[in-house]
């Protein structure tokens, strides 16, 4: 190979190696970017994971929205999550409180967390949670029952075509201690405002 070719090859190889490293880093960068994107646009049904303030107390009495609650427990956690009522009819802007009951049905204490999801996903930006058990991890002793309220509001800008909003809570087991998994992302109540 002639030397100018060797020089060219070296340059090409260097460039492609930089491109490769860039793309590898990009794949990891997509993880936080994905979260930011979803948070900004609210398109994957994720709701704010920290308490929000009530926007306004103006209640739109002309409109009813059905809010449904679904709870489920993933494999590996001997808990049940019950809800006081499966469905409520509320007005946009109206503050609503619903009681959820966690019960540990095993003979030992364990940790769990309820992870929320909203459907349709376009509604998620309009669900304002003033207080939610899903902001924290829970610890239940053997056979303990714990009732915690969810306080929320649907804001007035909820799109007209949405007549039903479904809130799903899935219980996941956590490790024994309250040490969090490494990439458990902004799960804690950052601002602490209630």
């Amino acid at each position: 190979m002639r030397s100018h070719q060797a020089e060219g090859v070296r340059k090409t190889v260097t460039k492609t190696i930089f491109a490769l490293m860039g793309m590898f880093a990009f794949a990891f960068a997509l993880v936080p970017l994905y979260d930011v994107f979803c948070e900004v646009t609210g398109i994957n049904g994720k709701v704010s994971t920290s308490a929000q303030q009530v926007l306004s107390n103006e209640v739109n009495r002309d409109r009813y929205v059905t809010v449904q609650f679904i709870t489920r427990t993933s494999a590996g956690l001997p808990w049940r999550l019950g809800v006081e009522t499966r469905q409520v009819q509320i007005h946009p802007g109206q503050m609503t409180e619903v009681d959820f009951t966690f019960s540990n049905r095993s003979q030992s204490a364990s940790w769990g967390r309820a992870v929320p999801s909203v459907s349709p996903s376009t509604a998620s930006a309009h669900v304002r949670k003033v207080s939610c058990f899903c902001f924290q991890e829970q610890r239940l002793d053997a056979n303990e029952n714990l009732t915690i309220p969810l306080v929320f509001q649907l804001d007035n800008t909820l799109p007209e075509d949405i007549a039903t909003v479904t809130l799903v809570y899935t219980l996941y087991p956590l490790e024994e201690s309250n040490e969090r998994p490494i990439v458990a992302r902004h799960m804690n109540n950052k601002n602490g405002e209630i």
Partner: protein, 544 residues
């Protein structure tokens, strides 16, 4: 990084035997198996890739036949559902990563230096290393089948959390194997880019390159762009499984849908990685046997580049049913349909090249023509799947299986076979046995259509993919598919026979083995000597 190969005079050692115990410079050639282990010659490495790919084609094919045998009748007859899942998964993984991709890399190794007038690949030792990573990777992958708990059983798309939380214990080995195969592809791509950009014969501009070279250049860029993303995804899986992270675990704050986004950001360009070089092969063969220059050379190059760029914007057409918001459904639906435009340009150019050509139907041409017709059928079913509301019905049914097998088997694999028949005279110095080759062709065409055409109907009628048993109304379609599959599989033995016979002898081929062939590879003798173009050829501008 630059290779340190001493300047060699032409034909320095093509027929000298290694001097015993001589200083181990490149020119002293080891013999026997060490010759193949240590070779840095692009032709020998190309041959290794092709043989490896052909063997894996049969391994993956046997897995497919296990699947088809179980699906021959409704009910569970032959294998356990758990093993069935491992077979579908392994079939997909082996065919994609061990059969189709290495076949194209093998053809690239053999033909790119010959087509651009270079003496070898730019980085010959790296080339050797890239190849030998493959047997390591796939021995490891296949060995997972023997591990406790079995091999990967979550589909070739390995969606988390099926492949993390609920995966068999061997998954860490699967990840390692995929990492090694990925590194091999990346190194191959670096080498191909470095060769094409720096080692063309004096006077050959980019727009003078044969289309096989062009399509491979673009494919190599796709590989550089997306293989690291695949590496990233499987690294995240590895960490979720072994180090307690929760990238894809909702319980820890991760998101399983993120997995699908990352996977398909790699996965869709990956399907084009498996088809662009095929476009290049067909674009070489059709003009040769139509005895006309390729219609619209420049538009072919631009269409290839357009397909490659667009392929980064369509990934979520695999995810229409995960609950994307309406805007995203629309965006991915329209961008996917847009890809059909440059693809259509290509089909148009091939057909126009054929128009009023003086066509002869040798085996490479037969495969290339079948490619154009059957690949287009796959393109049309792709367009149907691209319609988001319709995909709610088709997704995860046999219709999808029919679609991608039409683009991959009579698409990518027929193109590879066309290329093999086209270049065998250059590799071996003999023409393949035309009668047997034609039998192979007709059996393959019939087999492919018998196998995959009924899958469209089964899918439209609602048969889900990746199931070991099915409802009775699908029995007839499956019976036909299974018969077709065994027929197709058996006829591939003919392919091996033709290749073996051709290596051993046959009608001798001249340097220019096909009357209408124009590219540089036809200026060197047949069989191509181990070392070619040690002094760069004079590149004459051929009217494209």
């Amino acid at each position: 990084m630059a290779p340190r190969i001493p300047l060699q005079s032409p034909l320095q050692h093509s027929d000298t035997v290694a001097t015993a115990g001589g200083v181990d410079h490149h020119p002293s050639q080891p013999t026997g198996w060490r010759r193949w282990l240590l070779t840095t010659n692009h032709k020998e490495i190309g041959t290794l890739y092709l043989i490896f790919s052909l063997s894996m084609f049969f391994v993956g094919g046997i897995f497919a036949l296990v699947v088809r045998a179980e699906l021959f009748q409704p009910g569970l007859q032959l294998v356990e559902p758990e093993f069935f899942n491992q077979m579908t998964t392994m079939h997909g993984l082996i065919m994609v990563f061990a059969a189709v991709m290495p076949a194209f890399t093998g053809l690239a190794n053999w033909m790119i230096p010959l087509q651009i007038g270079a003496p070898d690949m730019a980085l010959p030792r790296l080339n050797n290393f890239s190849f030998w990573l493959l047997p390591v990777a796939f021995t490891l992958l296949l060995s997972t089948l023997l591990m406790p708990g079995g091999g990967p059983n979550f589909g070739w798309t390995f969606y988390a959390p099926l492949s993390t939380t609920y995966a068999p214990a061997s998954t860490t080995f699967f990840i390692l194997a995929l990492h090694i195969a990925g590194i091999s592809s990346i190194l191959g791509a670096i080498n191909i880019i470095a060769t094409i950009l720096n080692m063309r014969a004096p006077g050959m501009r980019l727009m003078d390159m044969p289309l096989f070279v062009w399509t491979w250049l673009i494919t190599a860029f796709l590989l550089i762009a997306v293989m690291p993303v695949l590496a990233g995804v499987i690294t995240m899986m590895l960490m979720d499984i072994n180090f307690g992270t929760s990238f894809f675990d909702a319980g820890g704050g991760g998101d399983p849908v993120l997995f699908q986004h990352l996977f398909w950001f790699f996965g869709h360009p990956e399907v084009y990685i498996m088809i662009l070089p095929a476009f290049g092969i067909v674009s070489a063969i059709i003009p040769t046997f139509a005895r006309k220059p390729l219609f619209g050379y420049a538009s072919m190059v631009y269409a290839t580049a357009a397909i490659a760029l667009l392929s980064f914007l369509v990934w979520a057409h695999h995810m229409f049913v995960v609950g994307l918001p309406l805007v995203a459904e629309l965006f991915f639906m329209y961008s996917t349909m847009l890809i059909a435009v440059p693809t259509g340009v290509k089909v148009f150019n091939w057909v126009t090249t054929l128009f009023r050509g003086s066509i002869s139907f040798e085996s490479p041409m037969l495969f290339a023509l079948a490619f154009v017709v059957l690949f287009t059928i796959g393109g049309f079913s792709g367009l149907m799947l691209a319609i988001a509301p319709a995909d709610f019905q088709y997704h995860d049914t046999y219709f999808v299986v029919a679609h991608f097998h039409y683009v991959l088997v009579p698409g990518a694999i027929f193109a590879i076979m066309a290329g093999v028949y086209y270049w065998l005279p250059k590799w071996t110095g003999h023409y393949p046995n035309e009668t047997l080759a034609k039998w192979h062709f007709w059996f393959s065409v019939i087999g492919v259509n018998l196998t995959f055409f009924p899958m469209h109907f089964a899918g439209l009628a609602g048969m889900p993919r990746r199931i070991p048993d099915y409802a009775l109304q699908f029995a007839d379609f499956n019976l036909v598919s299974s018969i077709g599959a065994f027929f197709f599989g058996a006829s591939q033995l003919l392919f091996v026979l033709v290749i073996i016979l051709c290596v051993r002898g046959g009608k001798p081929a001249p340097a220019k083995a096909w009357e209408g062939a124009v590219d540089l590879e036809w200026t060197v003798p047949s069989p191509a000597p181990l070392h070619t173009f040690e002094t760069p050829p004079v590149f004459r501008q051929i009217e494209k």
